[in-house]
Each structure stands twice: as structure tokens, then as C-alpha cells.
């Protein structure tokens, strides 16, 4: 921000100020004090804020994420999401999808651990990252070693792999996208596309 006080901070500050002044002005000083002790501190004030972007459509609304440390896991847990009023496009608003994005992050159907389903198997089983990554790397290399085409029938160098494919995401970051591209082309993958095709 190039201004000292953001609109969002201003709104929060103005709200708190108005409540305090109104009670005080009416001569309820003690009442106010007693009342104040019953009020828990404003939760959002103690949370870590991060500026983020809604993961859904490409209006790409600004969001403020609020998180705090989980005493058990020591991980930062997301506790609240609201629209970023400083964002020039959404100006603080979120739609029914964005407004519920906290439940997306906390969805019960998030994948938490590497899972593996054996050929012909009837369930997913939890495996370690090392098992999964070693196995997938081996499968890719096996396919590449067996099917990679260095030259076409005319003898031209083509260095392509058509038997392993990759569909890229649409909500991952540009940075992940670039690494995905580099990964795929380095292996010779031409079966490469992303959600934009649809």
C-alpha cells in the first residue's frame, strides 16, 4: 500500500472506536469497564494475516487468510477467510464459492497422505512418499526407456515420448506451471495439456 492506513484497517478501527465512545459518553464508565472484562479479545487481531487469491474463477478476487498455530500439531491452521477490500477488482466481496473457501481448505476429502492402489486392488493404501516417488520415477523411466522415440522414420531427431501423458492443473501457481513444463519437456512428453483446452 502507498497510503498509511488501508481501508480495511480504517473500517476495523472506526468500528471499535465508535462502540467505546458511545458507552463512555453516556456516563457508563464502570459499566463499560465491567462489560469490557467479559469481552474476549477480538479474535482476528491475534491471528496471522496473509494476502491470497480466491482459487475458483478467474476474476481472482483478493482474499485475506487468517491463521493461528495449532497447539497440538504446531502447524499454522486457517481459521477465517474474508474478501480483501483493498483489491481493486472485488473490493472485499466474495461470491458463494469464495465465501465458503475455508471449507474447501478443510474438506474431509483432502488427500492427506500418499495413497496407492495396487493393480486389480479394491482399496487405496497409505504409503510413504519415498515408496510413491521411487515407484513412479521407476515407472516413468521404464516407459521412457521402452518407448522414447529419438528419431522418426525419416531419420530426423524428434526426441519425444508419446506413451506417458500429463494433464496440468488450472489453479496451481505460475511457478508450479513452469516447473511442470520443464519436467514434461525434459522427459520428451508431448502428451501435455491443461484445463484451458476444455
Amino acid at each position: 500500500m502507498n497510503v498509511e492506513l488501508s481501508r480495511r484497517q480504517f473500517v476495523i478501527g472506526a468500528g471499535a472506536g465508535a462502540a467505546g465512545t458511545a458507552l463512555g459518553a453516556f456516563g457508563f464508565g464502570e459499566v463499560e469497564q465491567a462489560y469490557a472484562t467479559t469481552i474476549r479479545p477480538f479474535k482476528l487481531a491475534s491471528l496471522k494475516e496473509a494476502r491470497n487469491t480466491c482459487p475458483y474463477c478467474s476474476v481472482s478476487c483478493g482474499m485475506i487468510l487468517y491463521s493461528k498455530e495449532n497447539p497440538q500439531t504446531k502447524k499454522m491452521d486457517l481459521v477465517h477467510i474474508e474478501g480483501d477490500v483493498d483489491h481493486p477488482v472485488n473490493r472485499g466481496t466474495l461470491c458463494p464459492k469464495g465465501a465458503a473457501a475455508l471449507d474447501f481448505v478443510h474438506s474431509k476429502t483432502r488427500v492427506l497422505y500418499p495413497m496407492h492402489r495396487k493393480s486389480g486392488g479394491d482399496k487405496f493404501e497409505r504409503v510413504t512418499w519415498d515408496f510413491a516417488l521411487d515407484r513412479i520415477a521407476k515407472l516413468i523411466k521404464e516407459d521412457r526407456d521402452a518407448n522414447f522415440m529419438e528419431k522418426n522414420k525419416d531419420g530426423a531427431t524428434v526426441n519425444r515420448l508419446t506413451t506417458t501423458g500429463l494433464l496440468g492443473g488450472c489453479a496451481a501457481s505460475n511457478e508450479s506451471g513452469w516447473l511442470t513444463y520443464k519436467f514434461a519437456r525434459s522427459l520428451g512428453i508431448v502428451q501435455l495439456d491443461n484445463q484451458a483446452r476444455i
Partner: protein, 810 residues
Amino acid sequence: MTNSWTDIQNADVVVIMGGNAAEAHPCGFKWVTEAKANHGAKLVVVDPRFTRSAALADFYCPIRPGTDIAFLGGVINYLLSNNKFHKEYVASYTNAAFIVREGFKFDPESGLYSGYNADKHSYDRSEWEYEIGPDGIAVLDREMTNPRSVMQLLKQHYARYTPEMVSSVTGSPKDKFLKVCEYLASTGNGERSATFMYALGWTQHTHGSQNIRTAAMVQLLLGNIGVPGGGINALRGHSNVQGYTDIGVMTHLIPGYLGMPNDKEVDFKTYLGNRNFKPLQPGQTSYWQNYNKFAVSFFKAMYGEKATPENGFGFDWFPKADRSYDHLAQFEDMHQGKINGYICQGFNPLWSTPNKNKVAEGLAKLKWLVSIDPLETETARFWENHGEFNIAEPSKIKTEVFMLPVGCFAEEDGSLTNSNRAILWHEKGADMPGEAKGDAAVLAELFVRIRDMYKKDGGKAPDPILNTDWSYHDPKNPEAVELLKELNGRALTDLADATGKVTRPAGQQLSSFGELRDDGSTMAACWIYTGAYTSAGNITARRDNSDPSGKGVHPNWGFAWPANRRILYNRASADPQGKPWSEKKAYVYWDGAKWTGADVPDYGPTVSPDKNVGPFIMNPEGVSRLFARKFMAEGPFPEHYEPMESPLDNAFHPKTKTNPAVRIYKDDVAQLGTTKDFPFVGTTYRLTEHFHYWTKHVHINASLQPEQFVEISEELAKEKGIASGGWVRVWSKRGSIKAKAVVTKRIKPMMCGNTPVHVVGIPIHWGFVGVARKGFATNTLTPFVGDANSQAPEFKAFLVNIEPASAPVA
């Protein structure tokens, strides 16, 4: 988007067609509301359904699914035959004055252009070109009266699109169609502007690209491209689908819209030689003439120090594509058993690809499948039996499957590119759950393992892998900042100007793609992203929301490619002398010494207007194209073709009903239905409470819209004996789904000539994983065929039948 979300506030007329912004892009739609409230802009909605966008419109016109070209072609005819186009803009900024070769013809009887090869379903497009003089310069008739001029050919082509014809093909009442024409025509004067907002309602057709081209042509005729409140605005559907396209995660791309080399491009010189972009008019910018600099800088990012002038910057190591390997082609290959392994990164193809049963058969032929996704997907669980929702026999499916957990938006740093090309950095707000890793880390871990195996054990063609530059601080977990810096690019040696003065020391981040070189002294993975992370730091993290011009430009909020321009082609907001077309629409103009105004000029900053350099600086002709030359598969002027499955014949030319250049596989032809068995038009869409197949995992959204339904008119409900709230079966030649029926006044039968056409509206959001009630893949119904240019599948118009049914059994 040529323009931006916030620029919509400058529009006088907003046309929403092929989209439904009020429901699918609600927070972007607010800029339509601003335009209406602040200066009386008019909203016009053209849609088969009376959507919530339509409910807020000043004028609504219905249209039969898949007939947008007939409608917009009619608008072109209206503008030309009533002399309601922006004459100076058209004469100076489009190719209306260019002369087309004698060999180019369109036969209105057959509905075909010259050069058609019926066996190959494609055209020899070599004659679809300008007449070129002996000096290599295109021939013009400034009067535009030559019968071979683009203007005259255009008039002739669309003269057939009379209001009567439009109405009988589209089902739009003639008076309503004409009213839309009038709204648009009110902007063809430089004083007012109109914008088009569209989404997948235009792209998901076998003539999707041409739908968009027709609208772009309307906008060019009206002088609405490059001006505030104008443009042709694709409302993209996913938070970074723009970025993933920019970065080229697509079969045919190198980052920054460079082309993938093919088998005939046997060396780097041949590849570059095929892309020389020689100007077709004297003195034109033809900015793609810098292609070599962008390409060399990309290969330097790909192969680092190993890319040298001697080895063509590593060109040989890079894969060459002998054909398109687009998403549909991939699933055709998979269905034929030609793909062994498949990685889905944040993609649920079983649910999002046409003809779900074909996709499921294909997945079952894979040896292995990897899903890298924050959520469980139907694709990862395709082998599970879920009764009617997903019939499968796990023991018979041999595919080995992995689900790898990754973080989501809230759990990572990085940048996303929104629909209007604005790249904005976001910050991690929480830790990832369980053992999830970042998307980049998963692929980096795999890459390092594969590379180490090739180093240690050898294998086939190790060079492309071993020579890939992977010099990240932590090769198994490159940081987002490192990768953005690589996308932006840096000087590899000291860069000096013509006098020998060093303008950029070695190692420093570049500020602009103007600094890129073709000698290997610069690297940049994606030239259009140069400027995103400069020596001044992370430009995408800028959060100054000020708007000095008051036109919704917000120039210091993030970074918009290219070169932080917020409206593309903005030189065209001024007349040929450099003066704004009107004071009200002043945006970028000539001040006597330089171009200035609200935005970064899309033009040489000091090129004076008397140099006659056209505003469309990427095109070798310097002007925009009403005539698309050889760049579109089915013809230089969009022509009305029916969807692959349609209840009506092609009224323009019964001999050619559907797009003659469409690519369709043999098995899929056999799976097309006809009106005999499938008399109704199906069309799929989203709801405002849901996002594709993600929000069925989200408690609140699953509560808001818990259960699958389809929408039909009261008339169709009566005809088929369907009660609102009752179960129905909807089926096509490819498969069957069940859903609750919502009988609504928002969908009405349309009269096309004497034929009533009923539409069945099919929202897409349910599946067999998540917390919403179980539902069917709506793509069980859709045909496996795509747009002739982009291969986007035809989800918006296909044939179905419907009947009352009993509840599904899970």
C-alpha cells in the same frame, strides 16, 4: 481479456453472450453494475436460458444453442448494410482495404471454401491470402470498392445473414435480434463503446473459435477494440487457467505463445526461419520479428549453460510434435491402448472429458495413473464401483493408481494470472495438512529421482534430461521466487547498448522483454512475463490500488502482461493522427513528442503518427483482421455450421450441415445421435453456488445445492409427463444419467422457422466423491468432438432424450 474487469465500468453497452457472468463470475459482474449505475450503461444478454445475468439485463434475447455465428453474422450484415460501422477505424485499423487472392472463394451453395479436401476433412489454405505485390507488400484498395477487397468480400459473405434468416436459424425473434443490433450500432462512433463478455458458452462448440472471431469482427467494425469499455473479453473459468496457458502447459506451445517445433523443423535455423514475420506493409512493427530473441532466451532457461549457439541452444534435445496431442487426442490414444502412464495434476478428466464411458475404458487400459491433487477425485477412484454412478469391477482393472497429496492456494506462495492478464503474488496463509507437499516439490522430487537413475544406470536418450537446467537452491523443492525469477529472465553476460555502455550487468534480472537477445546472453522462460520480477523486486506483489486516471487502470497493482499494459491494442483508442476518438474515450494518445495517457502504450513510445505504423503491432500487416487469412481451420470468414448433433438442417447450405474441418474419430462418429431418437438439445453449465467438481467437497456449497438436477420448460414437462421435483432419466447416444427435474419458466421452447426446439439444461457439479449427494457425470452425455481449431469439446449443444424415471441406486 483484451480489457480488464475494472475497465468494464467504462462501457456504454455490455453484451453478455456465451457466458453468464452474474452467476459464474459474480464479483467481476459488479463492474457491469457499476457501469449501469454510474452512467446508464445498457446490459444486453443473449442466451438460451433466462439466466441471472438476463434477469439483471436491460434487454434479453433468447438464442438456440450453437447458432451464435448466425446471430453475429447477422449483426455484421446489419452494420454493413445500414452503414452503421466506424468507417475511419475500419479503413485505417483493419484489413478491410486489403485485396484477397483470386484463388480464394466461398460457395454459398455447398457452404465450403476453396481448397476443401473431403477425405481429409480439411482445407488446403494456401489461397486464403492477400494479393502480394512484387516487393513482398500486400496490395490495397484504400477506397475498399474493389470486389476483391476484404470489405466487399465481407459484405457479400454476410449479405445472406438477413434478419429473417437469422431468426429462423437461431430462434431469436426478429424484432429482438434487431434490437440487439441497434444497441451495438449505437457504439460505432468513437463516442461510445461496447464490450462483449463471454465464456465457455462460446468456446465449447465445434465452431467455438469462430464464435469468438465473429464477435471480434463486430467489435472491429464498431471501432471497439483498444478503447476503454470495449474489447472482447474471455471470462476465464479457473484461477490460473490463463497463467498455465501463458506458460505453455499445452501440447502445441512453448511459453509465451511460441510454437512447438514439428518433425520437419530439423534444426533451430529451420524452426526460426518458418517464423520470420516479415512486415506486409512498409514500416510496420510486426513485433514477432523478435521471435528469435524470445526463443533463444527460452532455450537458455531450459538448458542453461548447455545451450550454446553451436548446438542450436539445445534445440535437438527438445521434443518435436508430429501432430496434435491435445486433451481429446490423448484420450483417443488412451482408448486405443497407446498410453501407458498418465499424470493428472489438479485435473479430473473422468468428469471433465466428453463421453465419460470412453474415458473410463481408456483409464482402465493404463498401466499406471498418478493424481496430484489437494482433493480426492473421481478420476483417482475411477476403478471403484459406485452403482449407477460409476459401474466398475475393481478386480478387472489392472491400472496401478497413486493419489499424491498437495497443498492448495492457501498453503503456498506464488503468483496467479487472472482473466485480464494481471499477475498477482499470493502468500501462504497456513501449513499443508497431513503429509502434503507443494505441486512443484512433487515434480521436482520425481525429476531428481529420474535424472539420478539416468546418471547412475544409463537408459535411453539421457541427454535431454541430463542437460536440463535444474540449478535450483534445493533441486527437490525449488522456491516460488526462484521460479518466477526464471520466468522473468536475467542477463547472463553484461548487456551493452550500441555505444558499448553496459545497460544491464550479468546476473541482473531484466525489466522488459525489449532487453532480450538472440545470442544467448539473456535467459527468460516466458518472454511475456519479463517485467514480473525485475531488479526492483517482485513486481507481481505490488499492492498499490490507486487509479490516477479514474478509468479503472490500477497500473501499480500487480503486473499485467505484456509490459504492464491493461488494455491491449490501446493505440487504437486514438485516431490515425494520434488524437482520441472522443474526449470521453481518451485513453492513449500522442502529445506531440510521445504517446501518453492512462496506460502503457501498446506501440512504439515515440513513433509519431505520421509514420503510418498500424496499432496492431503483433500482426505483420499492422492492422487487425476481418479476413483471417489462413489462420482458421474452417475459413477466413466465420460461417454458420450446426453443432455435430443438431435438431435442424443447415438452412444456409443443407449440403454442409456441420463444420467441414472438424476432427472426429471413427468410433465417435458412430456414437452421434439423431433427432429420431434424441429430439431435444442438451446444454451443460455451472451454478453460482458451485465450482466445477471442487465444491461438492465443500460443506457450505454442498448444502446450498445438494443434489443433481436438470432444468426443462413447462411445455416440455407437460409433453413428457414430468413433474417438478421428480426423477428423470436423460440420455444421449453415449450414455444415461438421472437427476431431479426443475420445471422452469427460465427455459422456453424456441421456434426456428416452423420447428419448435426444446432445451434441456444440465448443471454439471455432482459426482461420487465429496460431501454433496452422489450424482452422475454429466459428460456421460456429451459427444467426443472438439472445435476445429482449439479442440474444446462441444458441451454446449448436443442431442438428448428425457423421460420420468425412478431414483438411482448407488
